[in-house]
């Protein structure tokens, strides 16, 4: 239930903020060095980082709960215990992947 709502919320966030940012990023690269530096500076600001980390988590949560929905579309994993464990796994997985990603980025990628 909660994971289903998260799937919608993260889907809307990715649709608006995610695709908006992807388009903005491509436009900034196309426009020139100054536009790209402005974009990169905003991305590295506190608000920019919060948005980027939030989108990273949304990406992984939507990806994992999306896989869960695909499995359930096949008719599998409807047993209460399995279903609940699967739902919790998507949350744990998305949090772990987000943390690993940002430790890698902020830890000065090798």
């Amino acid at each position: 239930m909660a994971v289903s709502i998260l799937h919608r919320a993260t889907g809307i966030a990715l649709s608006i903020a995610g695709l908006g940012l992807l388009t903005w990023w491509l436009l900034a690269i196309a426009e020139g060095e100054d536009a790209y530096l402005r974009f990169a500076k905003l991305g590295a600001s506190p608000v920019g980082l919060i948005v980027l980390i939030g989108l990273t988590w949304s990406f992984f949560q939507h990806l994992l709960s999306g896989v869960r929905h695909l499995v359930m579309d096949s008719g599998a994993a409807f047993e209460l215990e399995t279903n609940k464990r699967f739902a919790i796994l998507t949350i744990a997985g998305s949090l772990i992947l987000t943390i690993v990603t940002w430790v890698y980025i902020l830890g000065g990628r090798p």
Binding site: G11, L19, L26
Partner: protein
């Protein structure tokens, strides 16, 4: 639609059954989700594996067909999947036919315009003279 209590069982279900459409939308949403699973992981891994994220590095990367083609596919498939997904939410919450149509029309235009803008930027990067 109002049905009197005297309606026969057949009369009750007439006009209340399956809309007779929507199956294709459902399948499309799942097909694009599987494509995005691959393309999303590709973009994510690529960005993390690039040596630097400065503009020159990204331009060089995007100008190679090995990145330009998946990026173009990602833009098209992601905007389509977003449109299909948000439509489900709109259809769940906006029931009045006029408002429902207006919302879906607005989101369709937004998705097509956004996708076109992203593809235009990508084409400029790949084929333009900007350095």
């Amino acid at each position: 639609m109002s049905l009197g209590k005297s309606a026969t069982p057949l009369g009750k279900v007439r006009g209340l059954g399956s809309a007779g459409e929507g199956g294709e939308h459902w399948i499309t949403e799942r097909v694009t989700s599987i494509a995005l699973l691959l393309l999303g992981i590709w973009l994510f891994a690529s960005l993390l594996l690039l040596p630097k994220l400065d503009r020159q590095t990204i331009i060089e990367w995007l100008r190679a067909p090995s990145a330009a083609v998946p990026m173009a596919l990602l833009v098209v498939v992601a905007f389509r999947h977003a449109l299909d997904g948000v439509k489900v939410v709109v259809d769940d919450y906006v029931h009045e036919p006029g408002r429902n149509f207006a919302w879906n029309l607005f989101l369709l235009f937004l998705a097509v315009a956004g996708g076109a803008l992203a593809l235009y930027a990508l084409a400029t990067i790949c084929f333009g003279t900007v350095r």
